[in-house]
Symmetry: C2
Subunit: 311 residues, 2 copies
């Protein structure tokens, strides 16, 4: 299959590498010049759970590529999705499937402005990845990648991509409720991630705080209320808190990605997490003061750190 | 008059120095050994708006002093008031007036457990002060010190102390509504102070943030609702926001005291500001999620910084 990776950062390179290695015809798309040059000169080097390999790969700016793709994986930051969709528009045909594994909420709506819902496959993944240098990344974990068709008649198409991911060692799984896993992941990012970023704390430091339950409850309650109103998704507060604590105990002294964003002076995805909950809450007449305060505080922290958010 | 300063830190020393210099008989009370030793050996040195002077002063641990005082100024941190009242109990007679200029809410109730309301003079001040070294402090500003009797029949007593403060260059003023100024000051501390501490920001950095209005509104609304329910005090949100911005523009690149507390790894007074609002809100059936989140976040930050709060 002709597969494009729209946004070839850490996770995009990891996926592109595994797909290409296992027989797919992959084109990496990106705008980072040093990265493009390094891959063109030396191939793409990826360490998968510590095992390093190098492959020659095609990498280009979207406008340098032509022809309709079979599948495009979008791997931008949440705030970069809309712009990327305009940049890859010429690669999307009537049968091109767009696979979206982005963090955060509201991406289906963004994608529907560009492609028919029939061609949108939404998903989540718990693979993690990092950039080591231009042309060199790492991919860690053992999946899964959960996918589901956004249109009821497109299950077969989703399952084809699930199988490609399975065959490529990326642990694809067909999900009957990807909306739930998306909300659950957003809930993790909107609590653990946002709080660690704001407090400059590691996960275990955050969870050792005497106010942790109160800090989690307020946010989780609001995510649950909006998930119910908007997507008819049931989030049980106690179950979610239990899950959060279990995830936290596994991650220990790790700093989550939003903390790394602030540390590296990059804008965060807060508008697609707590901020998206605030926006949806308004629509449904729900109060979301905890998510509003978290969103405002993270934006204030971005401003204090003089991070350009483009807002 | 025999005046004791119960808690001779920066502000206590500044007040004690000015009172002693202008004819009062002042006893400084404290437990900080280096400070006591320095003042006993070399006197107390205070820079008042940059003008340095040294006076021999009496300083002692409370238990080393006996006899009833005419006036006792309490100058502890908010969380130290109750303990200090037990430590100075033997210096309080039936006519001893207690003057309380502490930051925060709820101190009248604490004091009433030890002395009759007739003898409690509540107040606020905008003098600022700092410790330079043991035995050496600075006092800055030009007041005022607003005082009001807590019992309607004790105005005369309050006015006597106001005049002493005036005569000592401390700019005493009789207030007809010290509850309002106390709430207003708590509102400043519960917004500007708490937010700068949490975000590790100077006042001008905080107020330059694009989310500043939303950050202030949520907290001010809750302070206003509780001030009304508990003390029948009217706080107008727009007026208060305007006042906050005006104060902020004067203070500029300054870091407020709660920021300094965290920076110096000391517990904050958040429980007597936003935390007191949360507690009172519960009593009156008012929602206070913004104050609750701020309180929880500041406590989480204290925990991350491994500050012992004694809670």
């Amino acid at each position: 299959m002709n597969i494009a990776i729209a946004g070839s950062g850490a996770l995009g390179c990891g996926f592109g590498y595994m797909l290409q290695k296992n027989g797919q015809n992959v084109t990496l798309l990106d705008y980072w010049e040093d990265h493009i040059e390094a891959i063109r000169n030396n191939g793409l080097t990826v360490s998968v759970n510590g095992v390093k390999g190098t492959l020659p790969m095609t990498i280009a700016r979207p406008e340098e590529v032509s022809g309709e793709m079979d599948v495009i994986f979008v791997f931008t930051k949440a705030m970069g999705l809309e712009k990327m969709m305009t940049q890859i528009n010429h690669l999307i045909g009537t049968k091109t499937k767009i696979v979206c594994l982005l963090n955060g909420l509201g991406h289906l709506k963004t994608l529907e402005a560009f492609v028919d819902r029939r061609n949108i496959i939404m998903g989540t993944t718990v693979w993690t990845a990092g950039i080591i240098a231009p042309g060199e990344t790492q991919l860690n974990g053992n999946g899964p990648v959960e996918l589901q068709n956004s249109h009821p008649e497109e299950e077969e198409a989703a399952r084809v991509i699930v199988n490609i991911l399975k065959d490529s060692g990326l642990f694809g799984e067909y999900s009957k409720n990807v909306k739930y896993t998306t909300w659950r992941k957003a809930c993790i990012n909107g609590t653990m991630n946002a709080l660690c970023a704001l407090l400059d704390a590691s996960i275990d430091q955050l969870f050792a705080s005497p106010s942790i339950d109160s800090l989690l409850n307020g946010i989780v309650d609001e995510f649950a209320a909006v998930a119910k109103a908007q997507d008819d998704i049931e989030i049980d507060r106690d179950e979610m808190i239990h899950y959060l604590k279990e995830v936290a105990s596994r991650l220990g002294s790790h700093y989550p990605s939003m903390h790394q964003d602030l540390f590296n002076r990059r804008p965060t995805e807060i508008d697609y997490l707590n901020g998206a909950v605030v926006e949806a809450a308004e629509k449904y007449g729900i109060e979301a003061p905890h998510c509003r305060r978290m969103t405002d505080l993270i934006h204030a922290k971005e401003a204090v750190l003089e991070i350009k958010t483009g807002r």
